[in-house]
């Protein structure tokens, strides 16, 4: 019941927002904020009520839903140590993105409604345990994303929105085929049962099934060479959407690989783990090198995301508890850190109306508070110890080192590069000679701006200094998954 409430509270809020009369359009933000806070509250309640020692899924709801002939689709949801932290991440970032949207003035009701529906779809993806239900939530996310980018975005927004949708649809078409093939082999969509089944590969060789699933998730992650939609989508999306996109939508890819590819087809995953390592480290390095060349702040962060999400894949490649725990941790850390980075860029863009690094400079003088936040987020992104990103990187490297030593060594180069591009960006934007054209700028000053930045920063520190908060929960869940891989 808690889980159903959590997933659909944002949708209910979305309906409420749409029902607001036009005269009260300005109230939309508060309704949306209330909705996202309720969701955040429920997720925290679930998080602290979660029994880390228990086996299996918790907060389970299971109802028969649709009989498509021969077997049922179920309304089957539940959480384990892998999905619980991601649910909290989602509600946190939903709240953050509602807060940073307070500066939006165009068609507010539709905007907030779409943002909340987006949140429902992501929450649904992280909690669905029926593969078809998972897929439905996965697809549901397209529609709000498309409109949010295409209507409220900037630049070549329609092009970017379309590209985003086409990439995702192409990926999910492959995924759907794989889902159906798996379901027809096991006569169920139940992920728990699928995870225990062995497949014969009669309809389609298992390698293909695995590959199809992987493509679907890899587009979302995204990895090289399926990443090109990401910089476009990011640079043209409104701030809140960038936060959601980088913060939680990408995680759906990583979550999918762990929950589906690795859990359901462990042998095939084992056969192809070398490719995970190769693709992961290529993404890390390629992403890092391309990031160095970016002049648009959002594109810069977007490419750094490609690099950082490569780390997730690298962590998975070892198929060990430590590595995958690290990958999950990296998803959480990256969600918060990149979320914060996009918030900072958004706050700046609201004021300067440019993200061109070449035109910015010396903002520390005009916007000291903002500059502090940005420098903090930057350091978190490059993996400063005692911040969340560092823990994740170390765990991934430690977990992968035994199996793919070379990949770790290559990837560490990526970390060095990340220090390069982040510091260089900070140096050019925050420091340097003061530019008179920005003298009129006001620093961040609204309560929603302060609370978003401070909240995210606090969480980054918390995850940096006290990893057990999450790892105690993630670790047992990953061990359960790994038992199957080992056998």
């Amino acid at each position: 019941v808690e889980l159903t409430a959590l997933v659909f509270v944002p949708s209910v809020a979305a309906v409420l927002v749409l029902l607001l009369p036009r005269a009260y359009e300005n109230l939309a933000r508060y309704v949306a904020l209330a909705g996202s806070l309720v969701a955040l509250g429920i997720s925290l309640y679930m998080f602290f009520g979660f029994d880390v020692d228990a086996q299996g899924f918790q907060y389970v709801v299971r109802e028969d839903w649709v009989d498509i002939g021969a077997f049922n689709l179920q309304y089957f949801m539940g959480v384990d140590g892998l999905s619980m932290p991601l649910l909290v991440l989602t509600t946190v970032l939903t709240t953050a993105s509602v807060l940073v949207s307070f500066s939006v003035t165009r068609r507010q009701r539709a905007y907030y409604a779409l943002l909340l529906v987006l949140s429902t779809s992501v929450l649904g993806v992280f909690s669905a345990l029926d593969f078809m239900l998972f897929f439905l939530f996965w697809e549901l996310e397209l529609f709000p994303m498309f409109l949010l980018i295409a209507v409220w975005g900037s630049g070549r927004k329609e092009y970017s929105a379309t590209k985003f949708v086409l990439y995702t649809i192409a990926g999910s078409a492959f995924m759907l085929v794989a889902i159906l093939v798996l379901a027809f082999n096991a006569n169920t969509f139940d992920i728990e049962v699928l995870g225990r089944s062995t497949f014969s590969g009669t309809l389609l060789p298992l390698t293909w099934v695995f590959l199809f699933l992987f493509i679907g998730f890899a587009v979302k992650l995204p990895i090289f060479p399926l990443h090109t939609w990401l910089p476009d989508a990011h640079s043209d999306a409104p701030t809140a959407v960038s936060v959601m996109l980088a913060g939680v939508l990408l995680k759906m890819g990583g979550y999918g690989i762990i929950r589906m590819c690795v859990t359901i087809l462990p042998e095939t995953a084992d056969d192809y783990s070398l490719w995970f390592a190769i693709i992961g480290s290529v993404s890390i390095l390629y992403g890092a090198f391309v990031t160095l060349r970016q002049t648009d702040m959002k594109r810069l962060i977007a490419y750094s995301s490609v690099s950082h999400m490569g780390l997730v894949l690298l962590g998975i490649s070892a198929l060990g508890t430590t590595g995958i725990t690290g990958a999950t941790y990296q998803m959480l850390a990256h969600g918060l850190i990149t979320g914060l980075l996009f918030v900072m860029v958004g706050l700046m863009y609201d004021r300067t109306h440019t993200r061109d690094i070449g035109r910015l400079g010396g903002l520390a003088r005009q916007m000291p508070l903002w500059a502090t936040g940005t420098v903090f987020a930057g350091f978190a992104s490059l993996g400063l110890p005692a911040l969340a990103g560092f823990v994740a990187e170390v765990t991934v490297f430690v977990g992968t080192f035994d199996r793919y030593e070379w990949a770790v060594l290559l990837s560490i180069l990526g970390v060095v590069l990340s220090a390069g591009y982040i510091l260089w960006m900070v140096e050019r934007v925050v420091f340097g000679p003061v530019r008179p054209e920005w003298n009129e700028l006001t620093d961040q000053r609204h309560w929603w701006e302060h609370s978003t930045v401070a909240g995210l920063a606090a969480l980054i520190i918390l995850l940096g200094v006290y990893p057990p908060l999450m790892t105690d929960m993630i670790n047992p869940a990953i061990e359960t998954i790994m038992q199957r891989v080992g056998s």
């Binding site: 649709v66 009989d67 498509i68 002939g69 897929f135 295409a150 329609e158 649809i169 159906l180 027809f184």
Partner: protein, 488 residues
């Protein structure tokens, strides 16, 4: 009395058709009420069907040439609903056209009666008569418009329809020559007893049947008429053609092939043919739809592709085990969801073209600003046609593809899924125009009450069945279960 009860639903529709003409002749001042009389007749028909379902008293009539089973009831409801929507959507257009109002509604109702008869017929002769009863009014309706294009559409439809119907007759004659009977049950027995020896004859007969019905189903290679006729015919008529006659053709093909020709050694043949036709129809329909600039033509090509989707269900007869009706119920489910989705799309187009006077997709730009509800409804229908959740169209596709995979047609399903992606391009292309395009005109407008009502019903159906599809699915399963499949 019993016989009247059995044919009641068609009877009610036909009587209403007569009444419409009479009322027009006797009370010409009351012309405005004609469509409502037609709706009343359809409601009576549906109520009559409902009373059977409530009595759970299914029987045959006229020596078994008509079968009153759940399968027929399913289509009776469907056709009554389709026709009611078409009548509602026609009101404005007919009023504007001014002439022959009663004839128009009478022809629509006659078509409906013919379609119903097709769904219930279990005898080749009855099937043929029913087919003509539904086709001839449609030829006239297609040419109803005053412009040249409409006349061309009517003529084209008539000529090609005549050819198709003669092919069909040849096929039926061969079947009769082989079995010595025209009843589907009798043919099935004959096929069972000495069909293997006459396999080549049966194959030729089946080929002719497929060709004849293929025209009505609008599948490749019998699809050439579709875009021209859809574009030329009055839009309400095009809507009727795109769902009514297509649905009836699938109803009767499913019945003939599953009941009479369902024997294993035959079904493997025709299932392969259907699979190939399905693959080609989907691909060709979608590829051609992409390049269209006229939305009616686009929907014409897309209806060819959709027919290919239905046909996956036909090809999936060889589902093993207890689920062998999976393919048939998939066809029914798909036909039903397609019917109200496509009608919804057409009704929205009718409303929009009444205002802007154009069927060009580029003129739909910025429709969201001008009429948000219409644009949203049309977008929802297009999303459902693409098969994106949470809409009814998604479940239909999933269900049929499920049947396909179970029948070892994975290759066909893969083609189907790829085609869905292709179709997303043009379906969502229209949505994109409406939501993102820039309108030159800014004047806002709303649909007329009758059009708005039918559109609301259709889109609510698309959405509600998208979230709770189970009622529709179980009805389709029951209907398919009523098919008398001897071979199993």
């Amino acid at each position: 009395v019993n016989t009247i009860d059995v044919v009641g639903p068609q009877f009610a529709v036909l009587v209403t058709a007569g009444l419409v003409l009479l009322v027009d002749a006797l009370l010409p001042q009351q012309r405005r009420l004609l469509p409502f009389l037609a709706l009343l007749g359809l409601a009576v028909s549906a109520a009559w069907t409902a009373s059977w379902v409530a009595r759970d008293d299914y029987q045959t009539a006229f020596d078994g040439t008509l079968s009153l089973d759940q399968y027929a009831a399913f289509f009776y409801f469907l056709f009554a609903g389709i026709t009611a929507t078409v009548v509602l959507a026609s009101i404005d257009w007919v009023n504007r056209a001014g002439r022959g109002q009663s004839e128009y509604y009478a022809l629509v109702l006659t078509t409906c009666a013919g379609l119903m008869l097709l769904a219930a017929a279990r005898d080749l002769i009855t099937i043929y008569v029913a087919l003509e009863l539904s086709s001839i009014p449609q030829y006239i309706l297609a040419g109803w418009g005053k412009d040249q294009r409409s006349s061309e559409a009517g003529l084209k439809y008539l000529l090609l329809g005549a050819i198709a119907s003669s092919l069909l007759l040849y096929g039926m004659a061969l079947l009769y020559g082989f079995a010595g009977t025209t009843s589907l049950g009798g043919i099935a027995e004959a096929v069972g007893s000495n069909g293997e020896a006459n396999r080549s004859l049966l194959v030729v007969a089946m080929a002719l049947l497929i060709a004849g019905f293929g025209f009505k189903m609008a599948v490749v290679p019998f699809q050439m008429w579709v875009p021209d006729v859809y574009q030329g015919a009055p839009t309400p008529v095009a809507a009727f053609l795109s769902v009514g006659s297509k649905a009836a053709a699938f109803a009767v093909v499913t019945r003939i092939f599953f009941e009479a020709l369902g024997a294993d050694f035959l079904s493997s043949d025709w299932a392969n043919v259907f699979a190939v036709i399905a693959a080609i129809s989907m691909t060709l329909g979608n590829v051609m739809a992409i390049v269209q600039t006229d939305i009616k033509r686009m929907l014409g090509y897309s209806s060819i592709a959709q027919a290919g989707n239905f046909m996956v269900g036909l090809a999936a007869i060889s589902v093993p085990g207890d689920d062998f009706t999976l393919g048939a119920s998939g066809v029914l489910l798909f036909v039903a969801t397609y019917a109200f989705t496509n009608l919804g799309a057409f009704v929205a187009i009718i409303a929009i073209s009444q205002k802007i006077g154009s069927d060009q997709i580029r003129d739909y730009a910025g429709m969201w600003r001008r009429s948000p509800l219409l644009a949203a409804a049309l977008a929802l229908c297009l999303i459902s046609l693409t098969g994106i959740p949470p809409t009814a169209g998604f479940w239909a596709k999933l269900y049929v593809f499920n049947a396909g995979i179970r029948a070892d047609l994975a290759w066909l399903v893969i083609i189907g899924v790829l085609n869905s992606m292709v179709s997303a391009y043009y379906y969502l292309g229209v949505a994109r125009q409406m939501f993102l395009g820039d309108a030159e005109e800014r004047e806002s407008f709303a649909a007329s009450p009758s059009v708005g009502f039918s559109l609301a019903v259709a889109t609510v159906g698309v959405f509600v069945f998208g979230i709770i599809p189970m009622p529709l699915i179980s009805v389709a399963q029951d209907a398919a279960g009523a098919l008398d499949i001897i071979a199993r």
